[in-house]
């Protein structure tokens, strides 16, 4: 499969993958935010999603734009801003 070189499309893929983490296991995300161990709690799921992202996107684009990590923060954390946590 051809790799993605378009930054918009790569960003959209990152967000779709991260959004899926939230859709498929909202409780785990909620507890992770609540107890401030989100990235440890979802380590396996995040690693799988990141691997998929890196397989699909031009490596240089993925590295330079840091798109996957931005998606993690923008989607996973930002969407959970109503969850009570000491993070905020």
């Amino acid at each position: 499969m051809e790799r993605i070189h378009d930054p918009f499309r790569a960003a959209r893929l990152a967000r779709a993958l991260v959004s899926d983490l939230m859709v498929y296991d909202p409780e785990k995300v909620r507890v992770g935010i609540c107890q401030d161990d989100l990235f440890e709690r979802l380590a396996d799921e995040i690693a799988r999603a990141r691997r998929h992202f890196e397989e699909r996107v031009d490596p240089e684009l993925a590295r330079k734009a840091n798109l996957f990590d931005r998606a993690l923060v923008d989607v996973l954390v930002f969407r959970s801003r109503d969850v009570p946590s000491r993070i905020w």
Binding site: M1, R9, R12, L13, R15, S19, D74
Partner: protein, 206 residues
């Protein structure tokens, strides 16, 4: 990637020049949803002024390409497209519209005949870099049901007639042949859900 100002209407909507009217409509709905004001997909990626410029270009592209007369004039003004056939980046043309001799479309890669299961739908969705919200925006199907389709959580889905419609709509967006995808998926649904249980959620309980 060309700057926005140098992209033609087809490039803006990410469709080939021979795209059907239905493809134009689908691409427009998808682009409109992607570049919407409140689009999560664009949050912090695109400056709001740039997003507004893209939205205007998308609207203009749709206005021209959805009118056969305007489109014909516009096509005549375009230079020949080099390698247009290989340039489909975001097209969701149903597979049945492709010539028989064409290569297997991207959306079908990895889907064995008759294996239109939940995983195939998810893989196709991610190949198009779409999340549930975007699919729901186009199909008007509740994201929860889209997720159940992917998870094959058949017990959570409504009556068969609705599921058939949902699967058909979902299949079209991710570029599957709707008739094959519906037949393949509904076979799985029928195996998983006993007939009496399929009645009732929307059609009234006996």
């Amino acid at each position: 990637m060309k700057p926005l100002s140098q992209q033609d209407h087809y490039e803006i909507l990410e469709i080939p020049r021979n795209a059907s009217l239905a493809s134009v409509e689908r691409a427009f709905r998808l682009a409109r949803s992607t570049f919407a004001d409140d689009s999560l997909a664009l949050y912090s990626v695109v400056d709001p002024r740039d997003a507004e410029a893209i939205r205007l270009r998308v609207e203009e592209a749709h206005r021209v390409l959805s009118d056969p007369a305007l489109r014909s004039d516009y096509d005549a003004s375009l230079p020949p497209a080099p390698g247009e056939d290989a340039g489909i980046r975001f097209d969701v043309e149903p597979v049945r519209a492709a010539p028989a001799a064409s290569p297997v479309p991207e959306a079908l890669a990895g889907v064995a005949p008759g294996a239109y299961d939940g995983a195939a739908f998810r893989a196709a969705r991610l190949r198009h870099s779409l999340d549930f919200g975007q699919i729901a925006g186009i199909t008007k199907v509740n994201p929860r049901y889209l997720r159940y389709i992917e998870e094959e959580h058949m017990g959570g889905l409504p009556a068969r007639v609705y599921v058939r419609g949902f699967v058909d709509a979902y299949a079209r967006v991710v570029g599957f042949d709707p008739s094959q995808a519906v037949a393949g998926y509904m076979e799985r649904f029928d195996r998983a859900v006993p007939v009496p249980q399929r009645r009732g959620r929307f059609l009234g309980r006996r």
